[in-house]
Symmetry: none
Subunit: 211 residues, 4 copies
């Protein structure tokens, strides 16, 4: 994906290279947040980063790589946090709730960026040109597989309903979770984090009907 500097490059150069990549990705992210996912041009990104468009091609193969790098960055960061939080919980239900807490926090801290991550994690290729970066997607797939396990445990413990397979529950849980976060990321005056967690968990856990 992202171009690597020459093999014989010193460690110093490697570091410099990585730093530049980070700068460029950040610039691209800023532009994408400002202009929307689909109307970003290489000129825009270069202008934001303060370099010439041609420079981008030293660090990335093509436009796709630049855009993908954004999703990859946030995906990685988010999943690291989520896994850390899950590791601190023992039982399955608590793990799911921890996931929710971290994602709410992340979505609130990186409002617009979250939409990008969401697009990466949930977007389906509609046409040929619109597909999603492979590696970020793979990371999500792996994470979801782990969640299925968590859910299976919670079912075994009697915490989750048993009339759906863990795969189905995982699928719907993640769809609903991401959708609701997305929705919240667009609200002008969203409630506090704890309240957000309460509302979302309320619906996910208990549905809309009176218990």
């Amino acid at each position: 994906m992202v171009k690597k500097p020459n093999a014989r490059s010193s460690d110093f150069h490697q570091r410099r290279h990585d730093a530049t990549v980070q700068t460029l990705v950040a610039a691209a992210e800023a532009v994408m947040v400002r202009q929307g996912y689909h109307s970003v041009t290489m000129r825009d990104i270069a202008a934001e980063a303060g370099c010439a468009p041609a420079t981008l091609y030293i660090y990335f193969e093509n436009k796709r790589e630049v855009v993908d790098a954004i999703g990859a960055r946030h995906t990685r960061e988010l999943l690291v946090q989520v896994r850390a939080a899950m590791a601190m919980e023992a039982d399955g239900l608590a793990k799911l709730k921890a996931t929710l807490r971290v994602m709410v926090a992340y979505a609130n801290g990186n409002r617009s960026a979250f939409r990008i991550v969401r697009a990466v994690g949930r977007a389906r290729p509609v046409g040929l040109r619109d597909s999603v970066p492979a590696d970020a997607r793979d990371e999500w797939q792996a994470f979801w597989a782990e969640e299925v396990e968590t859910i299976r445990q919670a079912q075994a413990a009697g915490a989750l309903r048993g009339d759906f397979t863990p795969e189905v529950i995982q699928q719907f849980w993640s769809v609903i979770l991401v959708s609701l976060l997305d929705e919240l990321s667009y609200q002008d005056n969203p409630p506090e984090l704890a309240e957000q967690v309460r509302i979302i968990w309320g619906f996910i856990a208990g549905g809309i009907c009176r218990g």
Copy 2:
């Protein structure tokens, strides 16, 4: 929006005109389904419709009008069906379930088109250029307002939980509903309609936890 033929046109011409508009919108829809929402070109649509690009400009002011017409068409059609189904039910909960049934049916019958309607109904303008057709969006807004009333009644009847305002319930209900339908519209071998309804209603009504 869509260009109207001259007032003095005969009824015959009017009909011909409308028919052509439908043909062109269908072509545009086909292309959009194939290539994705954002990479549609007027040349593509014309090629799909079997006419010259210039012909499109007889029936639409510009590209926006063409794209908007698609969302408008399906939105209108879907809401007509939903309202009809709701009118046949008496109590609030049954109305919501009727909505679900119609939407599941529509989403399955117009799989890819549903994604377009969904984009119209839920999409938020991220950048300046990407906004959503005004009137289709208005139709959704109006429909959602009606739903809030339905939900209020169901709450009064003790069918829906009372610890959230009807507005919040409506918001989350519609987000979850549309997201799940969207998810299903991407599955390769989706279950039967009745089963889809059962699953979705299961999660929306009761959540993921053991009752």
Copy 3:
């Protein structure tokens, strides 16, 4: 140039045809005055005339014919008036001054249209596509030839300077005359007709130096 109706057409039809042509030419003129010579489209003209663009092609071969007809109309009208005025004067100098008077009057009465006539009478083909209608131009040529005779007589009578050939004097007289009228046609608050005549004649007859 302008299309003729079928040979077997009755006189009635002929008249109707001519009347329509006049209407269309007038519409074209109005548009040209409003939008400038070069940005006139057939759609514009048709809209102004209240007919469909295709209708224009019943009365004119192509766009050129429409535009030419405007110049031709005013050229003919102007030259008729000029010749009438000249015929009422006996000596050469008086004939020239009569020409000036008529042209000033015409230019003031048809301010913007005059620029079109001027373009026809004086414009030189700069490129291949910009040439000038042949017949209107021929009418001007014929008129200028007559003027040369008038000038020759005035020279013989000692009224005009003899150190230039009549052809040269005619050429410069007409260039200057038309340029000054053109200039006046752009002034916001032009002086009265008589004053205009006085000024222009003052410069043309006596030059800028103290007599």
Copy 4:
């Protein structure tokens, strides 16, 4: 107007850039002379210059800038020469005659280009879209204001007629001058420069009547 290369560009690049701009302007001029002011396309210019159409957009914002640059170039060049010649003369009449000499020479040396300059200096906006480059026009305005002063001096010295205001004389002098030069620029076998000066000055100074 013309795009400037980045500030940090070296002097070398700056020079290269300017040279290219000159080449492109020259190409545009050639095309304009060949095809006329209004039917120039970017493709034509690019073809004449031997580059791709997109290249033009590196050096100019849009078509207007290219066309304007031509008028600006010649206007500047001509006015420099005129002012230099005027500075060498002491009295007002001699200054005007010097202006005439320089303009005759320039018009003969840059026949077709002169028509462009003329269009810039005298053209009036007929429609909204056809207006004239602002800065070239301003340069003419400034020059004309200076001429008014020159004429006022010549009037005070008794060299020019006093029955018209200097503004009126300037206006008519410049209109007539430019018109006659324009006329000469179209003649197939124009007389020598000195003869042209003699003829034009003859008419401007003394008019067509016998002194």
